[in-house]
């Protein structure tokens, strides 16, 4: 018996609906159909009237969730693909993210973003949006990389009184498996050392954790021990765990699937350069997707995003500097 990343997301929503009558799910095709990825499969039947199809109106989907949250509900809204959340961007960043600061009324909504690239996804079904949402004050941005985190962090997201952008990676949906759902979890906001090492710190999150772990494994034969940190939430960013690791290793590589300009990798490096300059034995480096739209053809796509091979190559450069 095993459970996939996607099943964990479905199970978390099922449990949230069962445990809390204030929870409801709203989004395109989430009802009887069960969602484009089946993340809400059978939930409409199990919880009548609480898992509802919406029109193709991302702005209204988020706006309605905000109003419902003010009235005490705990809405989970699904953007069919993270890319389409730009059509709801205004409600997310101007209404949800500012509500507590302006009015002292919290806004407990969860916006689920099926994120990241998959084979053949192309420019508009592949994007990683975490940097955009992290830029705005007033949002929590989660980027779970494991089945366990997909489950426990989504449950925590529903319980948090503030708006949570939940970036779940589509590439992990079906192939990433765990033996069972977790009974306990690290709280959001805390990074996890996914692999201990002494020679360099590799900070990453979401699907890039798995490319990074593979790269670290590949470098063992060459005698290198890479410490891999899974950020889990990119906002808040657990700077302390990163700095403590860099203090041990003296070298830093940050890997992200998102575009390079001004993103999570840039933020991590800025903080380490500012707070831990003296800890570094080499200039900190990053590896991101290329600065173009996400391409359609599998060969282009595989070269566009960081892979284990590319991560390993970048690590070798860093380690010999």
């Amino acid at each position: 018996m095993s459970v996939t990343y996607l099943e964990a997301i479905r199970a978390a929503q099922e449990r949230a609906l069962a445990d809390d009558p204030r929870v409801f799910i709203y989004g395109q095709d989430v009802g009887v159909f069960g969602g484009a990825f089946k993340a809400t499969k059978n939930l409409a039947a199990e919880f009548p009237g609480r898992v509802m199809d919406s029109p193709i109106s991302e702005d209204a989907i988020v706006g309605m969730a905000i109003g419902a949250a003010v009235e005490g509900a705990r809405p989970i809204v699904e953007m069919q693909f993270a890319d389409f959340s730009t059509c709801g961007l205004n409600q997310i960043v101007n209404q949800a993210a500012t509500l507590y600061y302006r009015t002292n009324i919290p806004c407990p909504i969860v916006v689920r973003l099926p994120s990241g690239g998959t084979v053949g996804g192309g420019p508009f079904h592949s994007q990683s949006m975490e940097a955009i949402y992290s830029h705005y004050p007033g949002l929590v941005v989660m980027t779970p990389a494991t089945v366990e985190d997909a489950y426990s962090m989504l449950l925590e997201a529903v319980a948090i009184d503030d708006p949570v952008i939940f970036c779940e990676h589509k590439l992990l949906y079906y192939h990433l498996k765990a033996d069972k759902l977790p009974d306990s979890a690290m709280p959001a906001g805390k990074a996890r050392i996914a692999r201990a090492g002494r020679d360099a710190t590799l900070v990453t999150y979401s699907a890039m954790l798995h490319e990074s772990l593979q790269a670290a494994e590949d470098l063992v034969e060459e005698g290198w021990q890479i410490e891999v940190i899974d950020l889990r939430t990119v906002k808040p960013l657990d700077t302390d765990t990163v700095l403590a690791s860099v203090a041990r290793t003296g070298r830093l590589l940050v890997v992200g699937e998102a575009w390079p300009w001004g993103g999570v990798s840039a933020e991590v490096i800025a903080r380490v350069a500012t707070e831990g300059f003296g800890l570094l034995d080499a200039a900190p480096v990053r590896l991101n997707a290329k600065d173009t739209p996400v391409p359609y053809h599998p060969d282009l796509w595989a070269a566009h995003r960081p892979t284990a091979t590319a991560v390993a190559a970048r690590l070798r450069q860093l380690l010999t500097q």
């Binding site: 409801f24 009237g49 609480r50 919406s54 029109p55 109106s57 991302e58 702005d59 209204a60 989907i61 988020v62 706006g63 309605m64 969730a65 905000i66 109003g67 419902a68 949250a69 003010v70 009235e71 005490g72 509900a73 809405p75 205004n90 409600q91 101007n94 209404q95 993210a97 500012t98 509500l99 507590y100 600061y101 302006r102 009015t103 002292n104 009324i105 919290p106 004050p137 007033g138 929590v140 948090i160 009184d161 503030d162 709280p187 959001a188 906001g189 906002k235 808040p236 960013l237 700077t239 903080r271 500012t274």
Partner: protein, 347 residues
């Protein structure tokens, strides 16, 4: 603090009660008094940022919320000073928000027309037009899900705001869900400087109601009696379960977009036409015609409104603004999820 919208509104919500017209007119007078004061404070340089007034729209705005009860929801727009007061906002909180007082509902964190008390059903608009439609709709959705019936939400917008995608998405969603939402469209002929003929191509904004499959109501926004009758009907229909209602009122903004704007672009012909009437003049005439007030009463009410504004100004002006030193500078309610890095960086 919501007071006027609560118990008193329940008592006088019927149009059969002649007091509704008197109360509406007094609200219009109070709104005009506070806005005239805001305009002079602006000219005197005593208000930071803009001043955005609803002069000429008081009748429609008052009618928009006067039939609401405690537990209903009101999501006003830019030119709804009168409707805000009718729903229970106060002159004091109005001035506090313009001054940025720490005692005001927005505590200096937001200003002017961006004020509300969401816990009381009084939502604080953001500047992005159309955004409040889905939000008020979502609130009604949650209330219904909780088993509450008879709740109504009113939100308002101008002719220009109807061109936004958010407006379309919000109204369409409300229509699909058959929510008890009243959308009040004040067609004041100009969106800032842009005239109707550069804003939309349908013959009448009311045509849109049919497109959404919801009820539409047309009214003369310069006529307080007509506004009250129309909004009474629309709010009641929503309350009775007949789904969203769209009210389109025709009127003219009698001021600039903000006090920085002399509105020189407004067609002089419109100012002289019926649409350019001042609804306060029309309302006063109607009360006298209907024997609902005497000239002495009208004058006394105006003095009382003036006195209320002066008293509130006296308080608001003496209140302190927020203290940047004691602000926590956190945008999340969950302390443990605040990215503490930026706090530490400043230390």
């Amino acid at each position: 603090m919501i007071t006027a919208a609560s118990d008193t509104a329940i008592a006088v919500e019927s149009m059969d009660n002649p007091d509704i017209a008197r109360r509406a007119f007094r609200t219009m007078q109070l709104s005009r008094a506070v806005e005239d004061k805001l305009a002079s404070l602006y000219r005197a340089g005593m208000i930071k940022g803009g001043v955005f007034l609803g002069k000429g729209q008081e009748a429609l705005s008052t009618a928009s919320s006067i039939f609401l009860r405690k537990g209903d929801i009101f999501g006003p727009c830019i030119r709804d000073q009168a409707g805000r007061l009718a729903f229970g906002d106060t002159v004091l909180d109005t001035l506090r928000t313009y001054f940025g007082s720490a005692q005001g509902p927005m505590r200096g964190r937001d200003g002017n027309i961006h004020r509300g008390r969401p816990r009381d059903g009084y939502y604080a608009m953001i500047s992005h037009l159309g955004s409040m439609v889905a939000m008020v709709g979502g609130a009604l959705y949650a209330r219904r899900q909780r088993g509450e019936t008879g709740v109504v939400g009113v939100t308002s917008i101008g002719d220009g705001g109807t061109s936004t995608g958010a407006f379309h998405e919000g109204v369409n969603f409300a229509a699909v869900e058959k929510l008890p939402l009243v959308v009040v469209v004040a067609n004041n002929q100009y969106a800032y400087s842009t005239p109707n003929n550069r804003q939309f191509a349908c013959a009448d904004l009311l045509d849109r109601a049919a497109g959404y499959g919801i009820a539409g109501h047309k009214t003369d926004g310069t006529d307080p009696r007509a506004c009250l009758e129309t909004l009474n009907r629309a709010v009641q229909a929503a309350r009775d379960g007949h789904g969203p209602q769209m009210v389109v009122a025709t009127l003219l903004r009698l001021v600039g977009h903000g006090e920085h704007d002399d509105a020189g672009y407004v067609d002089a012909g419109l100012r002289k036409a019926n649409v350019g009437r001042d609804c306060l003049d029309v309302g006063a005439r109607q009360l006298l015609e209907d024997g609902l007030a005497t000239t002495g009463e009208l004058a006394a009410w105006a003095s009382e409104a003036q006195a209320e504004v002066e008293a509130a100004l006296d308080i608001a002006q003496r209140e302190k603004g927020p203290d940047p030193e004691s602000e926590d500078w956190h945008a999340l309610s969950t302390e443990r999820l605040v990215d503490g890095y930026f706090d530490a960086e400043e230390e």
